[in-house]
């Protein structure tokens, strides 16, 4: 039994000793919701800080280093400033849709993050269609972007939102298909099963060549899904101001900003879970001494570490690659990623059929 599982079991028994079974269920739901909201805020702020700091190092600058040790509290100060600011919108904006849009993004990211296991027994709800649910829920986010673009009554916002729609619909395919490639190996859509199946080797080692191709495709389309450079046509600063959120200010802008970074975290977490074993420590079949040493590092640290490596990779992309044009974006998806992905699924199916995987 893992430490994290023991922790959740202890909390569950403690709550049962105080309340009835029904109340315990309710209290647990509230507690988990609060935990996710807290994690959401802290992770968002930390990622904004990391992004700014890493961007600075890529450009041989120092970045924020004044507020707190090494500038750690800079994003907290920025968030406080954004909360204190007055929300200003356009006069002709559809005020209902305009104020609704940020919550679509926030809620879709919160729902998506809830199925990812951060340790043994550390996931909001572990349903047997986890991967399917994640893909379905994360595409609700694009609805928020479209509503924001439509509701703000601004041509730049609308262009940005429609670009986002085109981009999301295209790249959703690649994300889904590359995850499907790995599911062929596991045979289950449940995230805990996916992690459990990697207790001897991570899936990227198990599936070797087709898994590596799927991983590369997933990282590319995941970067596009989270609207980051080189796929940030949605908010292309040089053409559209800020795209779909150009008319937002104050806390609503902060919601958009945070959800963008949380989306990056979700994409990295999914990549870490499906390809690199999630919270499962690095295990090599046969070396039991090595495996036991690795087991001393707790699961959540493995999970956050792997996610962090992929987040760093995405930040590296952002500060290296130039932005794609909209036709290049479509060409990359429909002429390169999608056909390669379909062929890759066939190869993977063949590999699994012949039993060539580890």
């Amino acid at each position: 039994m893992h430490g994290t599982e023991r922790f959740t079991a202890t909390v569950h028994e403690w709550l049962l000793s105080i309340f009835t079974a029904g109340t315990t269920h309710f209290v647990e739901m509230v507690l988990i919701g609060l935990a996710y909201l807290g994690f959401f805020a802290i992770a968002g702020l930390a990622l904004v800080y990391l992004e700014r700091r890493i961007a600075a190092f890529f450009q041989v600058r120092l970045g924020p280093n004044r507020v707190g040790p090494q500038g750690m509290f800079q994003t907290l100060a920025d968030a406080l400033k954004l909360v204190a600011k007055e929300p200003i919108g356009t006069k002709k904006a559809d005020s209902f849709l305009y104020s609704l849009a940020p919550y679509f993004l926030i809620i879709s990211s919160l729902m998506a993050i809830s199925v990812i296991p951060m340790g043994a027994g550390f996931s909001g709800f572990d349903i047997d269609v986890g991967v399917f649910f994640l893909i379905a829920v994360s595409s609700i986010g694009v609805l928020g972007i479209l509503i924001a673009g439509w509701g703000s009554y601004n041509k730049y916002a609308l262009i940005g939102a429609l670009r986002s729609g085109a981009q999301m619909i295209s790249y959703e395919l690649s994300v889904g298909l590359s995850l499907l490639t790995m599911i062929l190996l596991v045979g289950s859509l449940r995230f805990s099963d996916i992690v459990q199946s990697q207790s001897d080797y991570w899936l990227i080692f198990k599936g070797h060549i087709p898994a590596l191709i799927a991983f590369i495709i997933f990282i590319i389309s995941g970067t596009a899904e989270s609207n980051r450079t080189p796929f940030d046509l949605v908010e292309a600063e040089s053409e559209l101001g800020a795209g779909f959120h150009s008319e937002y200010s104050g806390i609503q802008f902060a919601f958009f900003f945070l959800s963008e970074f949380i989306n990056m975290f979700i994409i990295s977490a999914v990549a870490a879970t499906v390809f690199w074993g999630g919270w499962m420590p690095l295990h090599l079949g046969g070396f039991s001494g090595f495996n036991q040493t690795m087991d001393y590092i707790p699961g959540p640290i493995w999970f956050l570490g792997k996610t962090g490596v992929i987040i760093f990779l995405m930040m590296w992309f952002r500060w290296t690659f130039p932005r794609l044009r909209i036709d290049q974006l479509m060409k990359l998806e429909w002429k390169y990623l999608l056909p390669l992905n379909l062929i890759n699924i066939l190869i993977m199916a063949f590999v699994v059929w012949m039993g060539w995987h580890l």
């Binding site: 890493i54 600075a56 190092f57 890529f58 450009q59 041989v60 600058r61 120092l62 590296w316 992309f317 500060w319 290296t320 690659f321 390169y336």
Partner: protein
């Protein structure tokens, strides 16, 4: 097989780019190019060609090199330089010679474009490294570059 060679070339160029930025990232601690300005105010280092406000160097005898030819005044695109001059009799030669009275410099209009320094035939004015130029009164931004009682250095001709 242009399709697959395109993919190969794409990945190759992307990795080349990532290698360049990665090199900068991992050596970032050693070669930060920004300076922590208000903290190191006493030890600031300037690039050689840094353009602060215009100044006129004087030597120890309070002599400058400005002949009053007005080339800088003509060269200035937004009229930041104004020269007040007169023809003054030189007692040695008995000839009248153009001499500056005031070299007036309006910092409020200057864009530090360097054109006056290029135009000057005698190198009388230069760009200083002074950059903290804010003032509380607009009149403080109009300054006379030649010091009071200064005169032309001997042997400077344009």
């Amino acid at each position: 097989m242009g399709y697959f060679s395109d993919i190969y070339k794409g990945f190759k160029t992307l990795l080349t780019g990532m290698r360049v930025t990665g090199k900068y990232f991992f050596n970032a601690r050693k070669e930060i190019i920004t300076q922590q300005y208000p903290d190191n105010r006493s030890t600031l280092t300037f690039p050689e060609r840094f353009r602060g406000r215009v100044y006129m160097p004087h030597n120890e005898n309070n002599e400058h090199r400005c002949t009053g030819c007005q080339a800088c005044e003509i060269a200035c695109p937004n009229g930041s330089i104004e020269i007040v001059w007169d023809r003054i009799l030189n007692p040695d030669t008995g000839k009248k010679k153009k001499t500056i009275d005031k070299h007036i410099y309006h910092l409020s209009m200057c864009t530090m474009c360097n054109l006056c320094i290029i135009a000057c035939p005698t190198d009388a004015i230069k760009m200083s490294h002074e950059f903290e130029l804010a003032a509380f009164d607009r009149a403080d931004l109009t300054m006379v570059l030649n010091q009071p009682g200064s005169k032309l250095m001997d042997g400077v001709e344009d």
